[in-house]
Structures are given as structure tokens and as C-alpha cells.
């Protein structure tokens, strides 16, 4: 495993020591004439929370969908645990996906299943043969982490937006991922609930020592959750730094976000 | 997991019920088409199968006993029908049973009827060829009907044409309206009267002849007394007198008719109408004229025969001479 010092794309940046769990180099992705990502570079260290900040439609969601293999990039590499995602076959990709959690913007809870079935789904689908008691214990534990053990037999439609987000988080957590990708985790939530969710995210990150890549345009989220912020403008990395560093920047493009 | 089990069992019931109905459907059809059970083959050969096809029913004395298996063309005039018959019918169908093609109802499917014959015969064996009977075929019946219809149509057309022609033809109406018609009738009447008069004279001549013969006058009077000849003569005479009577009645009819026509004309009614109206009269007239004609013909024939008979040749010659003599003083007057 390479260390942070060898990464050319991350010059003079104050970073935590640790392994590089994910490295994105020269990523290109376009839809027709619309160049969403062009020469995007990013590194993620173990235990680090990185927020990718950008306007709506700047290609943030495209970025993490490329990371999880839902979209095929036009060029560049996405190395997760040393494996280049675009080159992986189905089986290998599934192996990587077990270690990478994904919290969808719209939660993506299965409407036709109960909360329990929703949480069991990734366990069963990844061909993990576990006895029922162990599955139950994992479900209970994941729900306990988000504080919603009592909703285990309810349907997603019966829950509030904040609860759904937490259930979705619990479903992401049930496989104990090393990397969690958050797609706009606070969108559509009231500020108080959003704060609760962010708090939960930090709590979990500390508890499991996982790394997080958070896509957001919510400055509260950025301020609270980020160890490091990457600004995505025009498809590439415009600026990098801590929240405070960026806040003090004189660049007019960066300033827009803090007004 | 309980919920899953219940839904699975319901699904099972659902699918099995659907499949059972399908199997039942196919089985019933198969049974109807004799796919199951024991059957044997029989054959029959027709000149025309009238649209019979594989799958049509075969009936023995009206009972469903099998189906047509296939219809083969043997040659340009002979078609063989192979049927599958239930094996249990082997003990009933005999070799002389007659096969015919019929129709199920008026417009229904073709059926093959096997009719038992009253005469004794051994039972059929597999692949026997049964005798066939040609039946009244609906098509043929319809064709005959069509021909009849055409004929009727032709007749009707002709009738219509005739009526039209009569209606349109001035000539016919002229004839019918012709005022000279009564005169013609009268002339006819006179002719008939003179004919009658002639007949009467002939009869008297004949009677004279007969009496002369009876009295033995003439060279061969004895021979003539022969009874057979006398009988023939008698018949001739009676026939002649009948002619006379006919002529009389005819004369009467004609005079009535003439009178009627006269009356009609006088009363301003068309004679044609009277004739057309009085069909009985017309018929009588016709009949009388025919009778007269026949009678006269018969009489003439007899007279001719007598003239040529060598026995009377001399007598007739004498008679003619005398007539010549009688006529001369009359002309002289």
C-alpha cells in the first residue's frame, strides 16, 4: 500500500497518517457533449472524512456512482483497495462493494420489504451464509447504532424522512464497510434532523474507523463532518483544504459557497 | 416465513387448477378424436367425399363410434377414407354395412354414417373396405333447385313477353275487335251445314246401297250377303250416322255462338270479350269440330275402301252415270 506522501495529486496538504484506501486519477466522464468529469483526482485515507463540495449538477453524484461501479467512466482509474473498479468483473466488483457502503440520496429503501428485510437484503444477496440468529443479531445491532430498533417490522413508507435516512444508514452499515459513500446525506431533511444525521455519521465513523466520502452542497454538513474538503467545479478538483482554510480563501469561486 | 408458505400453497393451487383445466380440455378433445383407447381401422372408397376431412365423426346407426383418420386420394376418380372405429364396435359392424357421407344437421359438419344392412354377413375385420352408398347431396339438391328455378324464370320471362306482346300488339286486339268475325262464323256455320247436308245425302246413298245389296241386286249380291261384310257395313253406317249427329250438335253450337255474338254486337259489347269470357263454349266448339273431323275422316276412309272393292266397283260406276244423267236436266233448267 502506498502512503500519502507518494501521491502527486495531493501536494502540500495537511493529512492524517494512514493507508490510502481509495485513489482516483484522471477521471473522465461525459454524457454526450456534456463533460461532467474531466481529469478529476482524489485520494482517500483510512479513517478520513472527505467532503466533495459542488453545485447541483456539477457531477458529484456521477463521481460516486463511478466509484461504486454503477457508471462506467470514460477514462482514468478508480483504485479501491488497490483494485481498479472499471476493470473489475462482476464477482470482484461484488467483493469490493461489500467493503464499500453507499448511502443513497433518496435512501433507496425497498418499498415492498419491511425494515428487517431491507437490512437483511445486502447480507443475503452477497452470498454470505449466516445462521438466522446471527443475521438477527446483525440487524438488531445495526438498528441500535442508528437508534431505531423498535421499527424493525415496519414498512419504510410508515417512517418519517429522518427515520428512513437512518434506516438506510443502518442498511449501509450492516456489512461493516471500510469506506462509506454518502450521496447528499442531508438533502430533503430539516436542519435539526440533518444535524442529527451528521452527528450519527461522525459517531459511526469514530466507532468503526471507516473512511467516508461525502457528496454535499450543505455547508453545515461540510463544516461538521469534513476532515478535508474537495471543491468540484467544472468537472475537476478546483481546490482542496480544510473547511477553515477554504473559508478564508480569497478565490471568488470558493467564496460563493460560504456566503 | 409463514406468510411465504401460505402464498406458495395458494400459488400451487392456482397453477394446478389451471393445468388441470388444460389437461381436462385436451383429454376431452383427445377422447373425442379417439386418441386414447383402442381403435381399429376401416376404409371406404368414394368418388366424391364432399368436403369430409380428418377428424369428422363416424356414426354407426347414429351412434358416435369413431372419427375419420385421413382422406387419401387413390387416383383421379377414387378417394379412400380411413376411419378409426372403437374396437368394441367390431362385434356389431358387418362386412355389408353401407357407408355414406352425411351432414350433421342442415348446415353442420360432415359425418360418415355406417348403416347396418338387413342381410346376414360376417363381422368386419381391421382394414376392411366397406361398400358405399351415394346419398342425396345437399349441393346437388341445391343445383337441381337452381336449374328448376332457372327454368321457371325462363318460362316466367316468356309468359311476360307474351302478355306484353298481346298488350302491345294492335293486331291481336284488331282481330279480337274485328266486327267481321261474326260473319266468318256465319260462313263457317254455312259450311258446316252444307257438310251436314252432304253427310245426310251420303247416308241415304249408303242405305240405298245396302238395301240394294240385301235385295240381291248387282252381280255378286249373294256374296255380299255374307254376314261379316254386313256387320262391317252396319258399323260403317252407325259411325256415319254418329258423324251426322255430331255435325248436328256442332251446327247447334255454332248457331248459338253466332246468336250470342250477334247479341253482343247488337248490345255494343265486343265479340272478342264474349269469346274470351265463354271458355266453355269455345271448348265445346273445339271438341265438336274435332269430332266432326274424325268422323268425316273415318267415313271417307270407309267410302274409299268400298269404292275400291271390286265387288262394288260396277255398282258405283252405275251410280255415277245415273248422277250424270240427273244433273244434265237440272243444268238445262
Amino acid at each position: 500500500m502506498e502512503t500519502i506522501q507518494t501521491l502527486a495529486v495531493l501536494p502540500d496538504m495537511p493529512v492524517k497518517a494512514g493507508e490510502v484506501v481509495m485513489r482516483i486519477t484522471g477521471l473522465y466522464k461525459s454524457f454526450g457533449d456534456n463533460h461532467v468529469l474531466s481529469d478529476f483526482n482524489l485520494g482517500l485515507l483510512a479513517g478520513e472524512n472527505v467532503v466533495v463540495l459542488g453545485k447541483s449538477g456539477s457531477g458529484k453524484s456521477v463521481l460516486i456512482k463511478c466509484i461504486i461501479g454503477l457508471l462506467q467512466p470514460d477514462g482514468g482509474t478508480i483504485e479501491v483497495f488497490g483494485k481498479n473498479i472499471p476493470d473489475l468483473g462482476h464477482l470482484e466488483l461484488d467483493q469490493v462493494r461489500m467493503k464499500v457502503g453507499f448511502l443513497f440520496q433518496s435512501n433507496a429503501l425497498y418499498d415492498s420489504m419491511t425494515v428487517r428485510e431491507n437490512l437483511e437484503f445486502p447480507l443475503r444477496r452477497h452470498s454470505i451464509r449466516l445462521p438466522q440468529e446471527e443475521v438477527n443479531e446483525l440487524v438488531r445491532h445495526a438498528l441500535d447504532d442508528v437508534g431505531l430498533v423498535h421499527t424493525v417490522d415496519r414498512m419504510p413508507a410508515e417512517l418519517s424522512g429522518g427515520m428512513r435516512k437512518r434506516i438506510a444508514l443502518a442498511r449501509t452499515l450492516i456489512l461493516r464497510p471500510s469506506i462509506i459513500l454518502y450521496d447528499e446525506p442531508t438533502t430533503g431533511l430539516d436542519p435539526i434532523t440533518a444535524k442529527e444525521i451528521i452527528g450519527l455519521m461522525i459517531e459511526i465513523q469514530e466507532k468503526y474507523g471507516s473512511s467516508s466520502l461525502i457528496i454535499s452542497h450543505d455547508m453545515n454538513c461540510v463544516r461538521m463532518a469534513s476532515d478535508r474538503v474537495v471543491m468540484l467545479i467544472n468537472g475537476s478538483c478546483y481546490a482542496e483544504g480544510t473547511y477553515d482554510e477554504l473559508k478564508q480563501s480569497a478565490d471568488p469561486e470558493i467564496k460563493k459557497f460560504f456566503e | 416465513m409463514t406468510r411465504q408458505f401460505v402464498s406458495n400453497s395458494k400459488l400451487g393451487v392456482f397453477v394446478i387448477a389451471g393445468m388441470l383445466f388444460l389437461i381436462l380440455l385436451l383429454y376431452m378433445i383427445g377422447k373425442n378424436e379417439n386418441m386414447f383407447g383402442n381403435t381399429f381401422r376401416l376404409r371406404a372408397q368414394f368418388g366424391n367425399v364432399q368436403g369430409l376431412t380428418a377428424g369428422n365423426n363416424v356414426r354407426y346407426a347414429g351412434i358416435q363410434v369413431g372419427t375419420v383418420k385421413k382422406v387419401n386420394i387413390l387416383n383421379d376418380t377414387l378417394i379412400e377414407v380411413v376411419m378409426l372405429i372403437e374396437t368394441k364396435m367390431k362385434q356389431y359392424i358387418r362386412k355389408n354395412a353401407v357407408v355414406s357421407i352425411g351432414t350433421d344437421g342442415l348446415m353442420g359438419n360432415r359425418v360418415l354414417n355406417i348403416s347396418p344392412s338387413v342381410k346376414p354377413a360376417p363381422l368386419v375385420e381391421t382394414n376392411d373396405i366397406l361398400p358405399v352408398k351415394k346419398t342425396a347431396e345437399m349441393d346437388e339438391m341445391l343445383q337441381t333447385l337452381a336449374r328448376t328455378n332457372e327454368d321457371v324464370a325462363v318460362i316466367a320471362t316468356q309468359l311476360k313477353n307474351t302478355v306484353n306482346r298481346i298488350n302491345n300488339s294492335a293486331a291481336v286486339w284488331d282481330i279480337l275487335n274485328d266486327k267481321s268475325l261474326p260473319q266468318h262464323f256465319r260462313a263457317s256455320l254455312l259450311n258446316v251445314r252444307s257438310a251436314t247436308a252432304k253427310t245426310v245425302r251420303l247416308v241415304s246413298d249408303l242405305q240405298l246401297l245396302v238395301s240394294n245389296v240385301k235385295e240381291g241386286k248387282g252381280s255378286l249380291g249373294a256374296i255380299i250377303s255374307d254376314s261379316a261384310l254386313a256387320l262391317g257395313l252396319q258399323e260403317a253406317i252407325s259411325r256415319i250416322s254418329r258423324v251426322g249427329e255430331d255435325a248436328d250438335s256442332l251446327a247447334q253450337v255454332i248457331s248459338t255462338l253466332a246468336g250470342n255474338i250477334q247479341y253482343d254486337i247488337e248490345n255494343g259489347r265486343g265479340p272478342a270479350r264474349a269469346i274470351l269470357k265463354d271458355s266453355v263454349l269455345a271448348e265445346n266448339l273445339q271438341l265438336s269440330i274435332q269430332n266432326l273431323q274424325k268422323g268425316t275422316e273415318g267415313f271417307n276412309a270407309i267410302m274409299e275402301a268400298l269404292k275400291h272393292n271390286f265387288l262394288f266397283r260396277g255398282y258405283f260406276r252405275k251410280l255415277e252415270k245415273q248422277k250424270e244423267k240427273d244433273k244434265q236436266p237440272a243444268r238445262g233448267q
Binding site: R97, A108, D111, R125 | G55
Partner: protein, 257 residues
């Protein structure tokens, strides 16, 4: 993009996508992994749950067809042929087509809406992330379920229709069930049942395929979901008639009539 292109081009594009989608189904359905549990669940939903609706419409259809045909048959003096005629009509055409249309309305729209909403709420992506091939899990199971369940529904619908017809015959006349039954079956042949049964597989396939395609390619937003459901019903209904037309021609060519 779609708004500005001409209609026919859009239509051709959709036809092409649809063909590719269908091709994807054929290249995937027989390969592991087999989503057996989900398949049975879909069979239950698609088949068993549709039975009441199909049964009701089938019953009414049989009854109405009988009552409607009776006056005409009386005019021709062949009233006794009523069971035979209704039987053939139901088994050959009315049963499969009416059932398929009802099925398209109920199942086609629900598949379109379900997959559409799964698409727009990223549930399909979530499945893929959770180590599931969503195409197999969602599309293959549903298409197989509709393909296999519709013939079963058609058979049961036929049976219920015939029962409705039996009652219809007995409203004005008296016919024993045995006689009705015999008359219906005496006039049916394999050529009536088998093509009708076979074509109902195609109807089911079309309904499932169109529903899944429309849902899977749903546009963002709740309006997109509604449009998916709606166009799934419209397209699958049209396809049912087209398949029916083709089926008639094919059975005719094969000489199965």
C-alpha cells in the same frame, strides 16, 4: 433531448432500446444466479392475485357473449349450437385476448409503476450495490412470471367464462350441464386449444417485457413513474393485438386451424 427530436426518431430509438432490453433478457434468464424465491413471489403476485379480476371479467364475458349471440342464432334457427359457438369463441379468441388485456391493465401497469418508482428512488442502484443483478432480480423474474402465469390465468379464465356461458344459456333455455359440456367439447379440437394456449405465453411475455422496460427506463420524478405505468399498459395492449394477428396468420400457415 427527447423533446426536440422528432417523434418518429424517438419512436425508433425506443423500439431499438426495447429490442436490446429483450435481447438482454434472453441472454440472462437462463444463467445463474437464479432468483427462485423472488420468481415464486412474483408468480404469486402476478398470477394468484390477478385471478379474482380475470375470473370476474371472464365470467361476465362468457355470460354476455352467450346472451348477445342467442338472438342471432335464433334468427338462423341454430339456437342449439349456442354452447358450441360460445365455447369456440371463448377458447380460441375471447378468453386469451380479454384475459391478456385485463392482465396488461393490472400487471403491466403495476410492474411499470413499481420498477419506475424503484428506478427514480435509486432502489435499482441500491440492489446492484448490494451484490444483486437487478435485471435478473427484477426483470427476469417478472417476465418469467408473467409469461408462465398468463396461460394459467387464461385457462382458469376460460373455465370461468364457460361457466358464465352455461348460466347464460340457462337464463332463457334449459340445458343440462352435461349437455352443455358435451356440446362445447364436441366442437373443440386441438387446433382450437393449442394455438390459443401457446399465444397466451407470448401475450404474457409481452406484458411483462413492456412493463419492465417502461419501468426500467423511467424518467426522473413521479410524473415519469405515472407515464411509465400508462405507456406500459398502452403498448402492451397494442402488442397483444399484434401478436394475436400474427398468431392467427401463423396457425393458418401451419394448418392448425
Amino acid at each position: 433531448m427527447m423533446v426536440n427530436t422528432q417523434n418518429w426518431k424517438q419512436w425508433l430509438e425506443e423500439a431499438g432500446e426495447m429490442s436490446r432490453f429483450t435481447g438482454r433478457f434472453f441472454s440472462q434468464w437462463f444463467r445463474p444466479r437464479y432468483e427462485v424465491t423472488e420468481f415464486f413471489r412474483q408468480c404469486f403476485i402476478v398470477g394468484y392475485r390477478s385471478l379474482p379480476l380475470v375470473g370476474l371479467t371472464g365470467f361476465i364475458m362468457g355470460l354476455v357473449l352467450t346472451l348477445q349471440l342467442r338472438p342471432s342464432l335464433i334468427d338462423y334457427g341454430v339456437e342449439s349450437q349456442l354452447p358450441a359457438m360460445v365455447g369456440i369463441a371463448i377458447v380460441r379468441e375471447v378468453g386469451p385476448v380479454i384475459t391478456a388485456l385485463i392482465f396488461a391493465g393490472k400487471i403491466g401497469s403495476s410492474i411499470g409503476a413499481e420498477l419506475g418508482s424503484m428506478k427514480v428512488t435509486e432502489q435499482i442502484d441500491a440492489m446492484e450495490v448490494s451484490g444483486t443483478n437487478p435485471f435478473k432480480y427484477l426483470v427476469v423474474t417478472r417476465v418469467l412470471a408473467t409469461t408462465l402465469m398468463l396461460p394459467v390465468l387464461v385457462m382458469l379464465g376460460d373455465a370461468i367464462s364457460l361457466y358464465g356461458s352455461y348460466l347464460g344459456v340457462n337464463i332463457r333455455g334449459v340445458t343440462s350441464f352435461d349437455l352443455f359440456w358435451t356440446q362445447v367439447f364436441d366442437n373443440l379440437s386441438f387446433g382450437d386449444v393449442v394455438p390459443a394456449f401457446v399465444k397466451s405465453f407470448f401475450f404474457g411475455f409481452a406484458v411483462g417485457m413492456v412493463g419492465c422496460f417502461k419501468g426500467y427506463h423511467s424518467h426522473k420524478g413521479t410524473e415519469g413513474v405515472g407515464r411509465s405505468a400508462n405507456s406500459a399498459v398502452v403498448l402492451s395492449s397494442i402488442l397483444i393485438f399484434i401478436i394475436d394477428l400474427v398468431a392467427v396468420q401463423v396457425t393458418d400457415i401451419l394448418g392448425l386451424n
